[in-house]
Amino acid sequence: MDAAALTSRFPATQDLAGKDMPTFRVAGADLLAAVAFLRDAQGFDLLADLCGVEWKDRPTRFGVVIHLLSTTHREYVRLHVDAVGDRVPSVSSLHPGANWHEREAFDMFGIVFEGHPDQRRILMWDAYPYHPLRKDFPLAGIEVEFPAADVAEVTGKKVVPAPMMGGPFVSHGGKLSEGEPTALDQSWNEQHPKA
């Protein structure tokens, strides 16, 4: 990994001094050229991961983190990109494997990838109105209509917030229980059946 070549070629690039692998913050305008340079001139020929991030303490709310792997030199490089608004250039023209990763980041965070060939949701259904991994979205979910109108008509059901009941993803403030795992909410248990 020739860090000097990258930073001299793209002056806006910032070395973040990654502890486990070379890490850079690349400007959105440079992203495609930088990924192409790393692929063609530095041998980072495999896109290992691409994910969306919502930052708590950065001026831009959303960003994307890309991991590239060189199969010849056997090393990784990590690129951070800040979104402009909620937009980031798509790298799927350089690495076709980014296609579904970018769809997932779009689905979960609402990050729009400019130049993506097929910008649709990948996990939630197409008509779902929210982006669930955003920090302001509750884990239990928000009430919306059922994905299929005909099934909703037959069953009379809606997508409703899940009862958290102290479930496995609910934080107990760092204190570990020594007894049998039980739900904090005991409104529905063996003694009192589900209403």
Binding site: L123, W125, P147, A148, V151, T155, V159, V160, A162, P168
Partner: protein, 177 residues
């Protein structure tokens, strides 16, 4: 099956068996359940094990697993049902011919299990009528077999086995002697 279902005394009746139509029909149905694996998560692995030689679901006449809803009469929902999949599960259930039964296998299919989240249907009984719930995460094949034997017991207790509904209408098959 309770013994009184068949009143058969070879000395008195010779080769004639007296019984109720329900008893015969239910006996036949309960011993030839054709399950359809709705394998959505890890429970499906245990379901496959139940079909293997070690646990051998064919001892109960259920080895004819059909992957088409048209040819099955028992949907085994084995795994986590997401809201996105719920639509498909309901549609496949609608395509099954009557009589039909649903088994919710494992914690996720029964209640949503550990997935208390925005994406997961909190129990498949929200969208289809469930006959048997099997606990476990995932249930062992023995637990599945126990649940299926319970389903057989339930089928044997059913009344009106000659009645079925078709597009909202009730059709009664008449036996003419």
């Amino acid at each position: 099956m309770v013994k009184s279902d068949f009143g058969y005394n070879s000395k008195v009746e010779g080769e004639v068996i007296v019984t109720r139509a329900d008893a015969v029909v239910n006996w036949v149905r309960s011993n030839s359940v054709w399950p359809m694996p709705m394998g959505l998560a890890c429970c499906a692995i245990e379901l496959m094990a139940a079909g293997g030689s070690r646990f051998d679901i064919s001892r109960f006449g259920m080895e004819v697993m059909r992957f088409s809803p048209r040819q099955a009469d028992c949907m085994i929902v084995a795994g986590t049902v997401t809201y996105k999949m719920a639509e498909v599960v309901r549609r496949i259930y609608d395509q099954m011919a009557e009589p039909k039964w649903v088994v919710a296998m494992g914690a996720c299919a029964s209640t949503g299990g550990m997935y208390r989240s925005y994406a997961t249907l909190q129990g498949v009984d929200n969208i289809v009528p469930v006959d048997i719930y099997i606990s476990g995460c995932p249930p062992r094949p023995e637990a599945l077999l126990d649940g299926m034997m319970l389903l057989q017991e339930k089928i044997r207790q059913e009344g009106g086995s000659l009645r079925r509904t078709f597009r909202g209408r009730t059709i009664e098959t008449k036996i003419v002697s």
